[in-house]
């Protein structure tokens, strides 16, 4: 093992540090003590079956669940008691599974909805250069956009805020292969630009070449954590947990 391949964790503050996270919806206890770190610039994939608690993990980080316990540090800052908009303003961009494009807003209104949180955020023309379709469709109502356009819009609007840590939930789900390829290239580009990304995915083929690390969630707990370089050796274990 060379020094270069060592994780950079010890000296830098993690972009995101989750400790013993529990979450409830009403009376159902969904997360049972999840802990993991994401280093700045790292791409981490959360894998798991449907209902294992991956989406809930992202929602709990944003404080969108009924109740949560445990500690979530964003760039070293405790967010346990913060409301969602305060957490977002610490530099977290959240893209929900259902994409969350607002029907009563135009494409451009959707894009401009989240406030800018940093001055160095991408300018509108840079966003439109990255997503030319959104410029063409700027006046269309949000839900008249195709599924792929909606997904691009959901990512574009959090990039525009200047968020450096992105929580992306099932972005490739239900989209045509050509769109999935475009999303793949987009994540690759964001990774090169140094974004920290926590990716919830079901599709290991999509995430395998993208992520630095894979965390498998099972029944609301971390069942397995695998570095990218060990992925091949662990494929059997992951497949077993994913039930494929």
């Amino acid at each position: 093992m060379t020094a270069q391949s060592l994780p950079q964790a010890p000296l830098t503050t993690p972009a995101l540090s989750v400790r013993d996270l529990h979450a409830w919806y009403g009376h159902s206890h969904i997360l049972h003590g999840i802990s993991f770190d994401v280093a700045p610039g790292e791409v981490v994939a959360l894998l798991g079956r449907n209902g294992s608690g991956r989406t809930t993990t992202l929602r709990a980080i944003m404080n969108l669940v009924g109740r949560r316990e445990g500690s979530i540090l964003v760039a070293g800052r405790e967010t346990a008691k913060l409301q969602p908009h305060r957490i977002s303003r610490l530099g977290i961009g959240y893209c929900p599974e259902e994409r969350g494009i607002f029907a009563s807003l135009s494409c451009e209104e959707n894009l401009l909805l989240p406030p800018r949180i940093r001055d160095e955020a991408m300018r509108d023309d840079e966003i439109y250069a990255l997503f030319p379709n959104l410029l063409r469709r700027r006046d269309a109502p949000g839900t008249k956009l195709s599924g792929g356009e909606q997904q691009m819009l959901a990512i574009a609007r959090i990039l525009r805020t200047g968020a450096r840590t992105l929580l992306l939930d099932e972005i490739s789900e239900g989209l045509a292969p050509v769109i999935v390829d475009a999303l793949f290239d987009l994540i690759l580009k964001l990774r090169e630009l140094g974004f920290t990304i926590l990716l919830v995915e079901q599709n290991l083929h999509f995430t395998a070449p993208l992520a630095d690390r894979f965390i498998v969630i099972e029944r609301g707990k971390v069942a397995l954590e695998v570095e990218a370089r060990d992925l091949e050796a662990s494929t059997a274990a992951i497949d077993r947990l994913l039930g494929v």
Binding site: H85, S88, R89, Y94, L112
Partner: protein, 294 residues
Amino acid sequence: MTILGLPIQVLLGQLTIGLINGSFYALLSLGLAIIFGLLNVINFAHGAFFMLGALAAWLALTVGAVNYWWALALAPLATGLFGIIVERLLLRRLQGLDHLYSLLFTFGLALAIEGTVRDIYGTSGLAYPVPAALRGPVDLGFMRLPAYRIWVVAVALVVCFGTWALIEKTRIGSYLRAGTENARLVQALGINVPLLVTLTYGFGVALAGLAGVLAAPIYQVQPQMGSSMLIIIFAVVVIGGLGSTMGTILTGLTLGVIEGLAKVFYPQASSTVVFMIMVVVLLLRPAGLFGKEA
């Protein structure tokens, strides 16, 4: 000239009176719809806030010698501020609970406000004079109408369409529209939704307060003036459906006019025509005329 056996003057006269009632319906149902959209609160106190607006104008004039024109700005502001305090201190605690709790709370609040006002000022009604500049009739050619009533329609139309523009054409309006669809997500995208909720409630209440000031010289200021109106306002919101600002405004105006016409053609039905329309609309389009089907 006659239409359907009636002199056109009579017809136009009732149409105009209907339009005045419709102006109040539009102003009140607009606030009610905005509040329900974002807060999911069925604001039963809306009629009480309408009355408070009228009372604030009366108090300003009687106690503070503040004239109508100042009251037109200050009374809605004071009513809205009162709404903001109610939301921050009380209504907020019911967030996340069943609709029924906020409904019962606002219903109780309305009773408390009306009871207090009745206790202090009685039920006989406090007269508010029409401002000097708007006294006397205006000749519209086909009929003479009190200038004040034309003023009411004009102000209501300007404020309604101003509100429409605010909601549909501005950044803050896009927050409100998005929040009406999914407030939690809007908050996760970095917008201070609790503040938006407070301001929206305050704004809706201020609209009711403004309607109250406009109404003060027409009706007398009395504790029940709002609650009798409120039932029709709810019917307007149900008929118009939620999800369209313009739809709510137009429904309010139209129902006022229809009510006015009913008074001419079949007076017995004038107090029930709105509810009969509501029944038909609910049967044919459960989400309302302009509502988005869920």
